[in-house]
Subunit: 132 residues, 4 copies
């Protein structure tokens, strides 16, 4: 466990809400992914640049607990806490809190890995360095 | 456990693929949701009609195991196996298999409930009848 | 003008509807794109395979007239009528009709071109052959 | 013409990019819509609150000219210039410029109207006041 806690602020966009008038379930995965990619960028890892080199960061497992809905007009913060699960597996404990009251909207655990050009798991030195 | 196994066939649309050239993780939740809603419709429950009456079918937990990627041109089947978890909680065991080789793409467990106009859990008689 | 008229049938998925309870405006572009890509596939042109070779089919202009909304449960047909606008520009006259009453939902005109690895417009022989 | 020019800054999220590695065409409509809704909010009109009262702001026509692609990592500004077209029709001249070089990505003209509970066009006094 690194102790890293990265977070970004975002706001609901109306098109992200579905016919129940709240943010659609799948959209939270977009929010969580965007926050992870911003975290990775902050430690020197560029998802898109790696993909262009055929090194693919992939998600292998996601657990999402939906606690409260976000809706039109809401601002929120997405947190990312990375942790090393094995030499090639990274866990991300994530949460989304509505602002300004910090009501918990979503709790998530995401497990990811990096695959090289031949589809084999690969260590990312930048993350390795953070996780020590 | 009802023994119900419902399934629908779908095909990847190019706009669902991301810069890695495969279906984006969040899109699988769209596929799984669409298959659940079609299942519900097959037993007489209409998600949109209920939402218009302020009875909201909501997801409280999702677990997704990503096994293989789908990509442009792929056809696939989405399976839905409902099971009663409590008087007001329904579980859906779901899987997505690529066609025609039935390679497993995703395994999922989704837990849902129905909330009435006051936000309280509510039994849906149509599902209740199936689950007996 | 080729006289080609290609069409595919689709159905609204609940997650495509927004907080007004109807299909979100941007989603119609997804429907129109999917139908164009299916048309292209039917004449031997694979959007994703070309992208992998860095030949990019791109849209340069879209005009959309929104005539009636589609909503949860609606089936519809998307039509594609290609026409040659210049050696390197293809027009697609498109329309979306609700089924079974064929009420017009959207009328569109889309102009596209193909760009080669250096970003220069390129003739696609398969389309060229159709347009003669 | 009011002289209003409203703008917001945004950034591309990786999931918005498609298999060509650039922002998918339909996503620009999301960006443009979000900026319009933020503009409307700035003059006291809340899209979601109106929808809850069954007053629907709808788009009747969109013209989009795609000038240059946005891609992963790009920041950009979305501009909104409202203009009165008739007592019940509002035009929005919009443009998206990449930052920091202000390269033009998209030029758009969007025409919208408000429909009351019976589906009839309705004047919005807040916009009316701005347009004088």
């Amino acid at each position: 466990m690194t102790g890293d806690c990265f977070s970004i602020e975002m706001a609901v966009r109306d098109y992200e809400c579905d016919l129940q008038g709240v943010v659609n379930n799948a959209v939270y995965q977009n929010y969580l992914e965007h926050a992870r990619h911003e975290y990775l960028k902050s430690v020197g890892i560029d998802f898109a640049a790696l993909a262009a080199q055929k090194i693919n960061l992939v998600v292998v497992r996601v657990e999402l607990d939906f606690k409260a809905s976000l809706t039109s007009g809401d601002r929120f913060v997405v947190e990312v806490r990375p942790e090393k699960l094995s030499p090639v597996r990274i866990g991300f404990r994530q949460a989304i809190y509505r602002l300004p009251d910090r009501k918990l909207a979503i709790q998530a655990q995401v497990i990811g890995t990096a695959l090289n050009q031949r589809g084999r798991p690969q260590v990312l030195p930048e993350l390795e360095a953070r996780m020590r």
